[in-house]
Subunit: 113 residues, 2 copies
Amino acid sequence: MLKQVIIVRKDLKMPKGKFAVQCSHASVEAVLISDKEKIKSWQKDGAKKVLLKVGNEEELLKYYTSAKKLRLKTVLIKDSGKTFFKKPTITCIGIGPDAEEKIDRVSGKLKII
Amino acid sequence: MLKQVIIVRKDLKMPKGKFAVQCSHASVEAVLISDKEKIKSWQKDGAKKVLLKVGNEEELLKYYTSAKKLRLKTVLIKDSGKTFFKKPTITCIGIGPDAEEKIDRVSGKLKII
């Protein structure tokens, strides 16, 4: 089973719309660097996406590094800071789609949003 | 300027996580049926995504039909109804990326979330 995971900073307290746009950025950018066959297979199974939360930027970057080390397709999303945020702000990361077990080695202990 | 638009039903009162996943589905699925050169150009400009709201399914389907008539790349997202919803439920649509003016002919009057 393939899934995609999006890990978001909860300390930013983003409103619903901002939050959803940041997650969509992570989801799309991770898909666009992923293997096409993997994407097709993931779509066939319902394109599972799981949102997880971390407490702050430092923690988020730790998961980013761990995912990269496992050679998972991973993207870091930085908001340009022109609307809700007053300065450029790292908001979330996107991982995969990839095998559920492989992604869980990175983010298996995080809580779902 | 290229943008992508995601139109979501506000009557469903989805919680933050569910809402963001549905938007991500719409965003990714619309990207995956779009022209590659258009995607690249959209990414270069910051991959603008705009969330808009409608009151119910009937209204959403009206915008879906209008976008299709203009030959905009458009996807309809239906949740399988196994968690938050008790039955399969159409939640949102994704349009583009495409030229801002062209998409605005469909959704220009809708309110941002």
